[in-house]
Amino acid sequence: MSDRASDIRVSPATGDDGGGEVRYLSQADLEVPTHQIVAPDGSYDDEAIPDLDDEELLDLYRWMVTDRVFSRRMVNIQRRGELGTFGSTRGQEASIIGSAFTLTPDDWLYVGRAWTPMFMRGASMEDMILFWRGIEEGQEAFAKVNAQIAISIGSHLPLVSGIAWGMHLDDADAIATAYLGDGATSTGAAHEGINLASSVGLPALFYCQNNQYAISMPYEKQSGANTIAQKALAYGIDAIRVDGQDVLAVYDAVSSAREKVLQGEPVFVESVTYRLDAHTTSDDPTRYRADEEVDHWESHDPIERYREFLKSEGLWAEIDHDAIVDEIETEFDEALAAANAMEERAVAEMFEYVYDELPPELVRQLDEFEDLLERRPEMYDFIEQRPKG
């Protein structure tokens, strides 16, 4: 009999065999605090402010505004038919920026709903526009900065654990981070990915943005668990629950988590936030959520909350908000122009990269297809390359 099997008879913590009485472990017995530094009214405890210099504090603001402007512009061009389906991040700026601000370029990043972290790592807005236009070069650019976007919900968690496994074998001074949503925590892949990280002891950070909805499904129906954070305990890893509308609290929590993860102790972070816009531009949220609820969250804007903090710290005077917005708008305009100028691509690109070396059957299919396109130019009546959406 293994040691573990013999341990089953008694509580590992107390050695107490329960005295024959059935005792339940209950979520109700568990206190799950939510880490917060700046309260919704803008008040805060000086002592709790993370160790960031003024420039970094201002950067947090600039990136949050970048995130907001980018989402707005993307939704706008989608409505003009210049983009495929797009998922806005409005309302989640503090959650996204505060967490990504803790990562280094060597850390791997696999996101669900979070685009600006790609810019923070050096990808361009043009790359992101290309991605949402369904042009493969966007993903290529993200891969160059150790980052990817996962479309299949939850499927990336085992992948992130695998990347972390490689880092573990290499003794790398870096971590692998999976951004996921509340919905993803219901997928089988998420459970298996987190469990793997826990069982091997991998430098993986699971950063869950609980934005309250998986398309139409509110978190209360997504799971019977009181919080997502506490699910980590079942895997044997530590968790933090943080106010995702408080950028400093998010930064503080994820910084702390990252240090622990670097030691090979995976951490799960639940960031409690809210998706103000629709799930995607194809979604109509008025079918499943009340206006009052959205109004409530609109009035608890994470950027405004942080602005109050900057004012209290005397840093607001150093910010020209309109100039920041203008700068981002200009960057977006230039990115859009560059994306629009992208040349028409060759049909061979559909076949490239399926394998390292194109197998003979694929060579044959490509040759036949190119021949067909030449013989029957009427094919182009049915083909729209849609570089502009």
Binding site: G84, T85, G188, M217, Q385, R386
Partner: protein
């Protein structure tokens, strides 16, 4: 009544839920929001939240849960939001749903339906556009059905819900709303496992299904070809007889499908023709298919699936020799 394919899905669900209170509809976003394509619109209001249920984001639980519920005696109709999200649940189809009857020597069975929109052409994100009916048709014990008209959608889905075996019901989302046609009111059942001859002809047999029916019919019209056009309708079990009888008459055949060519359904059709009608063939059977590549992201997806000129090219190749 005139209806689209997606309306026909809704009509069949209404009809069967009314007829049989064991029918339970569930999946992601099917209740409150009526499904992302509105296929389950109004069901929650009519049948309540015990029979129309929003599930967590859990494909494995949706398909495995349907199998369990069916074993217990209910008639679950589960929705997978996009066919690209079925692969996590592939295990439940292969390991459980399709084998329960066989495993228990008929003591238990899994009379369930998994519905899902499939196919390219709606400018969706990655994983939303695949046509993997070949992979699912490979699973013994699982029936795979793909309608192409509103009337067949209602009739086949009704039959699928009443079927004693698990049915994967693949809905061609590219033509969800582009076709509006007459759908019989009230009860309407179309038998699973029977192909339909959409057009009779003498020169060549063209076999297609689902989203490939409109470009196939367009190609035949465009080329003014005396083709016998067969809508397969059921991938598994396949109606070999209708295909073979037609090929014996025409001596030529083209198979059109959107999924990848290698080990695709077309391969199986060619093999069956070889088995049963080889000596009638006047030319090799042509395949017009998707490529052995992932479906490209939206900017190039129009290149991927067979359009009428490609279908016509295949038909002319079959006729040339």
């Amino acid at each position: 009544m005139q209806a689209t394919i997606v309306q026909a899905v809704n009509d069949a669900l209404h009809g069967e839920m009314e007829r049989d209170d064991r029918v339970v509809v569930f999946g992601e976003d099917v209740a409150e929001s009526g499904g992302v394509f509105r296929a389950t619109d109004d069901l929650l209001e009519e049948f309540g939240n015990k029979r129309v249920v929003d599930t967590p984001l859990s494909e494995i639980a949706i398909v495995g849960g349907a199998a369990g519920m069916a074993m217990y005696g209910y008639r679950p109709v589960a929705e997978i939001q996009f066919s690209g999200f079925l692969p996590p649940a592939f295990d439940q189809l292969v390991t459980n749903a399709s084998r329960i009857r066989w495993r228990t020597r008929g003591e238990l069975s899994a009379p369930m339906v998994v519905r899902m929109p499939y196919g390219a052409g709606v400018r969706a994100l990655e994983h939303h556009s695949e046509s993997l009916e070949g992979a699912y048709g490979h699973i013994p014990g699982l029936k795979v059905v793909i309608p192409s008209t509103p009337a067949d959608t209602k009739g086949l889905l009704t039959a699928a819900i009443r079927d004693p075996d698990p049915v994967l019901f693949m809905e061609p989302k590219r033509i969800y709303r582009s076709i509006r046609a007459e759908v019989p009111e009230g009860e309407h059942e179309v038998p699973i496992g029977e192909a339909a001859v959409r057009r009779e002809g003498e020169d060549v047999t063209v076999v297609a299904w689902g989203s490939m029916m409109p470009p196939t019919l367009e190609a035949v019209d465009e080329g003014d070809i005396d083709a016998e056009v067969i809508d397969l309708r059921t991938i598994s079990p396949m109606d070999t007889e209708t295909i073979v009888e037609s090929v014996k008459k025409t001596g030529r055949c083209v198979v059109v499908h959107e999924g990848p060519r290698t080990l695709g359904v077309g391969s199986e059709i060619v093999a069956r023709i070889n088995d049963e009608a080889l000596m009638y063939l006047e030319s090799p059977v042509e395949r017009v298919t998707g490529f052995d590549t992932p479906v490209p992201l939206l900017s190039m997806e129009d290149f991927y699936f067979p359009h009428p000129p490609r279908v016509l090219d295949g038909i002319e190749a079959a006729l040339a020799e």
